[in-house]
């Protein structure tokens, strides 16, 4: 098995400390969140709990990274 840092394992086991939205809300809000980020606005204040969810959910985190990259290429 690939060796992993124990703190990485603990992060995965314990998740984010604060309140977070679930995957369904994350998907519903992801496009707005990304555009607020790209506009330099306070996405975390507008959609509380989404950033924490991205820290705790690798799948949603990957999709956020992709949407951010893809949307940033738009004119």
């Amino acid at each position: 098995m690939e060796q992993r840092d124990p703190t990485t394992i603990l992060r995965g086991l314990l998740g984010p400390a604060g309140p977070e939205v679930g995957c369904d809300t994350c998907f519903e809000e992801l496009d707005r969140f990304v555009e607020l980020e790209l506009a330099g606005k306070d996405a975390d204040a507008a959609i509380p709990g989404l950033r924490a969810h991205l820290a705790g959910c690798p799948a949603c985190r990957e999709e956020h990274e992709s949407l951010l990259a893809l949307a940033s290429e738009q004119p």
Binding site: P6, I9, L10, L13, L14, A17, V34, P48, G49, S66
Partner: protein
């Protein structure tokens, strides 16, 4: 420690003045042209599919290293399938679009989701998922640095105890598969006949129990878990 559930956190409705006006011109054009009775609907659907295919290909290109055994034409097929499925989702949910982002950004997320889920499932196709919690070993994959050994070991011991004593069998199975074995949540959902949202709720509840278990033992964590 306060008890927090996923349902406690609702996105705030931002004041209208804090964001762009609802539905920009380009998004309005998409909505107009995609209406069932729109004269240019076929053309709009073709353009929408092209946009979604671009999104799906973008995701495939980002993640192709996870699928080194797939040929280029297989990846191209996968992107096309993702675009096809995303097109159906977008058309089905057009009424849900509220103009709080550009239409293209809203549509892209469906293409990225479809492509990402298909890629994760393809990467795990034929791979067995260990679903027997009794066989897990938290230390099997842990590389402990001498300086951290005592403190981290104490937390890991308490976590292992919490997993064994505090979690339901289902929570244990889901937590171990997702957080220790690295099974993608969509793959686990498919194998268990569940959904990403339901499994994440289970994971969230298990994590809360573990954090409460550590709190009761006076083990503080955040300095250990900070991203370097």
């Amino acid at each position: 420690m306060s008890t927090v559930t996923l349902r406690d956190v609702k996105p705030l409705e931002a004041p209208a003045s804090a964001e762009q006006p609802l539905v920009d011109e380009e998004s309005r054009a998409w909505l107009r042209d995609l209406r069932p009775d729109a004269p240019a609907r076929d053309d709009a659907i073709e353009r929408l599919h092209a946009l979604l295919l671009r999104g799906a290909r973008f995701e495939v290109a980002r993640r192709r290293a996870t699928l080194p055994h797939l040929r280029g034409d297989e990846l191209a097929d996968l992107a096309m399938e993702a675009a096809d499925d995303a097109l159906m989702s977008v058309l089905r949910r057009l009424d849900d679009f509220q103009g709080r982002s550009r239409f293209s950004t809203w549509a892209y997320k469906f293409a990225l989701l479809e492509a990402a889920v298909k890629l994760r499932k393809r990467a795990w196709q034929g791979r067995e998922i260990p679903l027997e919690p009794e066989t897990w070993n938290l230390f099997a994959s842990a590389r402990l640095a001498p300086d951290d050994q005592v403190e981290v070991s104490a937390v890991l011991d308490a976590v292992r105890e919490g997993i064994a004593d505090e979690l339901t069998p289902h929570q244990r199975r889901v937590l171990i598969a997702l957080a220790i074995d690295g099974v993608p949540i969509d793959v686990l959902a498919e194998r268990l006949g569940s959904t990403r949202g339901a499994l994440y709720k289970t994971l969230h509840d298990a994590r809360r129990k573990l954090r409460a278990h550590l709190d009761e033992r006076g083990l503080t964590l955040e300095h250990l878990l900070e991203e370097s």
